[in-house]
């Protein structure tokens, strides 16, 4: 008897998946938790944090102005190392953005519903990372006020950009990436801005959120178009996110420099970008989750899944490192072979081994479940990955440039204080923007989290949520 009853119950109900939102929270309590964090008085930690990051950002901006008024010579770039920390930082930041778009686009298409807890903040991270990235090539052109030459506009001197240049592709790829990310992010934000508007107590807040919410009233006739747009934006962002870092890698892969001139670059760059991006997502979300008490929404299951992605992409990156080395040996090109020996055993050996340790060896800890579920190991590996991915770009760009074909052209590269502080300043800008974001906007997509609650399914058999429901809710409604 019991056996037949068990057969009548669908498999999914006998073996339920772990809930995406823990403690069986109701919709109202999800809203209260996320929106309430924005509405409460500005906490002291926020002021302390933003004054520190804001100071770094301000000094970074000072360094940028110092460069613009003095010249690119204030950096340590030389000949042959004409691209150094600037391109390293550019690719580092662009890569970080990729996790946000992966979460918002690819995981939407593959119906990974856990993405709802982290997509908003990682998309915001994408935008801020791309802003930081854009600084470096922008100021490296030297005559910053001439950077509009990159745009294909008719000018009297009849100069047009070379559309067949990888650098020109990059201009289009990065600007498209930024614009599409902004649109995608803002579209997702509109229903939540409506939530903020409807909850706002002060007139000023109601006005600001009201203007931004564009009069959203959640009708299904609206959701119908909205969902279609969201799906298609995800669909077009998927090839976009894969193409952006591929295009960035073309800047190098289409050249003839040993260690740059390889076909493995596009997939290798994309895997590395996702690896570094997820590390940065964890770096930002683990503190934000604790400060905003979002443990029920960004659960251990979420962190566990992201750790697994770091493990997979870190291993792909490791495969690429080893395969590059093998191809250099097997290809028989003496310049290529030298470039790779020089990478691991030359004057910058420490950078390469830091890269290899941080990106390939440390993530292997995540094979063990206990390490994926310990806040300190997760944070440690994420920080390793952040550092490792910066070193990866340094290794690829600076080490390849400093010793190319002719020994007479070889030269070491040393950064100056302007290099160092512009880089630190970009971190200041990044974290300052992120702090402003979590202060004024809901850092979790409220409407999307609600849509993955069990009771959001119209065919769900109801059982009362244990938090924020029952008597108190009925009283609140009465």
């Amino acid at each position: 008897m019991a056996d037949t009853e068990a057969k009548m119950v669908p498999f999914v109900e006998r073996m339920p998946r772990p809930p995406l939102v823990e403690k069986n929270r109701s919709m109202a309590s999800v809203t209260d938790l996320i929106a309430g964090g924005v509405e409460r008085k500005t906490p002291l930690w926020w002021w302390i944090a933003i004054s520190i990051t804001g100071s770094f950002a301000a000094f970074g901006v000072f360094c940028i102005f110092y460069l613009l008024f003095t010249g690119v010579g204030v950096w340590g770039n030389n000949i042959p190392v004409g691209w150094a920390w600037d391109i390293t930082n550019f690719v580092f930041w662009i890569g970080i953005g990729h996790a946000g778009t992966l979460i918002s686009a690819i995981l939407l298409l593959t119906r990974q519903r856990w993405r709802t807890a982290v997509n908003r903040s990682s998309e915001a991270m994408t935008l801020f990372a791309v802003i930081c990235a854009a600084i470096f090539p922008g100021v490296h052109v030297g005559r910053f006020w001439m950077s509009w030459f990159l745009a294909p506009v008719p000018v009297p001197n009849w100069i047009w950009p070379n559309f067949r240049s990888a650098l020109m592709w990059d201009v289009f790829a990065v600007s498209t990436y930024f614009t599409v990310s902004v649109l995608f992010w803002f579209l997702g934000l509109v229903p939540d801005l409506a939530t903020m508007r409807d909850r706002a107590r002060s007139r000023f807040a109601k006005f600001c959120y009201g203007v931004l919410a564009l009069g959203w009233r959640g009708g299904n006739r609206h959701w119908r178009h909205y969902e279609m747009a969201y799906l298609i934006l995800a669909g077009i962002s998927t090839p976009l996110v894969l193409s952006v870092h591929s295009t960035v890698s073309f800047d190098f892969a289409t050249s003839i420099l040993p260690a740059w001139h390889t076909t493995i670059f596009p997939p290798y760059f994309v895997a590395g970008a996702i690896f570094g991006g997820f590390a940065m997502v964890l770096t930002l979300l683990i503190p934000a989750r604790a400060l905003y008490k979002l443990h029920d929404i960004i659960t251990w299951n979420h962190i566990d899944v992201m750790c697994k992605i770091i493990l997979v992409t870190g291993s792909i990156v490791g495969y690429a490192y080893i395969m590059e080395f093998f191809v250099a040996y097997y290809g028989g090109n003496p310049f290529e072979r030298f470039a790779f020996l020089n990478r691991y055993f030359g004057p910058y050996w420490w950078a390469s081994w830091t890269m290899f340790t941080c990106n390939v060896l440390m993530p292997q800890l995540f094979w063990v479940r206990a390490f994926r579920r310990n806040i300190w190991t997760v944070y440690f590996v994420s920080m390793c990955a952040n550092a490792g991915m910066w070193f990866e770009r340094f290794v690829i760009f600076v080490i390849a440039l400093h010793r190319d074909f002719l020994p007479s052209a070889w030269r070491m590269y040393y950064p100056t204080w302007v290099d160092v502080f512009t880089f630190i300043g970009s971190h200041g800008i990044f974290i300052t923007l992120f702090l402003l974001f979590i202060r004024f906007l809901p850092m979790v997509a409220i409407s999307e989290v609600k849509s993955v609650l069990p009771e959001a399914d119209p065919h769900h058999r109801p059982h009362p949520p244990s938090i924020g429901s029952g008597e108190s809710m009925e009283e609140a409604r009465a």
Partner: protein, 186 residues
């Protein structure tokens, strides 16, 4: 509502439902009753609601396809006109003609994506007649919970079947709670 208020133009009748499931079944009944100018409001898109309301798939996809095609065409013209006619630039000794297409492809791809994204974003708001600064529903205080955990069904007075009394009774009959008829300029 007071007697004086009834004389004003009604905007529509609004009813609240307890859950996504209740709203779903109510929508099926409203659809079957033959109403045309009505909508359901929920904090998130409810799966299958288009079917329950008898709505077709959004046409936005076709519009975005046109936008994307326009983007691709823009890129083709933007690249080939300057490179072939205005300022033929010989790079790597390669000619600039139709047969050297591959290096022009990345920008075609990017502009296709860019134009599609703009069409998608603005398409949603044009099709939804948004942004608008105000709407009669926002005068109905309980409705503001639509963005938290309220599920509402609204039948507008422009519907030919609408009537102050019958529609209210109909909404109460299908399980709507706190049914109210809203009046413009209330």
């Amino acid at each position: 509502m007071s007697a004086a208020a009834v004389r004003k133009n009604a905007f529509g009748a609004v009813a609240e439902f307890g859950s996504a499931g209740e709203l779903y079944h109510a929508a099926e009944k409203v659809r079957d009753a033959g109403y045309r100018f009505w909508d359901v409001h929920s904090p998130f898109p409810i799966h299958g609601m288009n079917k329950a309301m008898g709505l077709k798939k959004s046409p936005l996809g076709y519009i975005i396809f046109c936008g994307g095609s326009l983007g691709c065409l823009t890129a083709v013209l933007l690249e080939f006109i300057p490179s072939s006619f205005l300022n033929p630039l010989i790079v790597h000794g390669k000619p600039v003609n139709f047969f050297t297409v591959p290096p022009f492809v990345p920008i075609m791809f990017e502009l296709t994506v860019l134009f599609s994204a703009f069409t998608a974003f603005f398409g949603v708001f044009v099709l939804n007649r948004l942004p608008r600064l105000h709407h009669p529903l926002f005068d109905h205080e309980p409705f503001l919970r639509f963005s938290t955990d309220g599920f509402f069904l609204v039948i507008e007075s422009v519907d030919p079947k609408f009537s102050d009394t019958e529609t209210r009774e109909f909404l109460e009959g299908i399980g709507g709670k706190a049914v109210a008829v809203l009046y413009e300029n209330d």
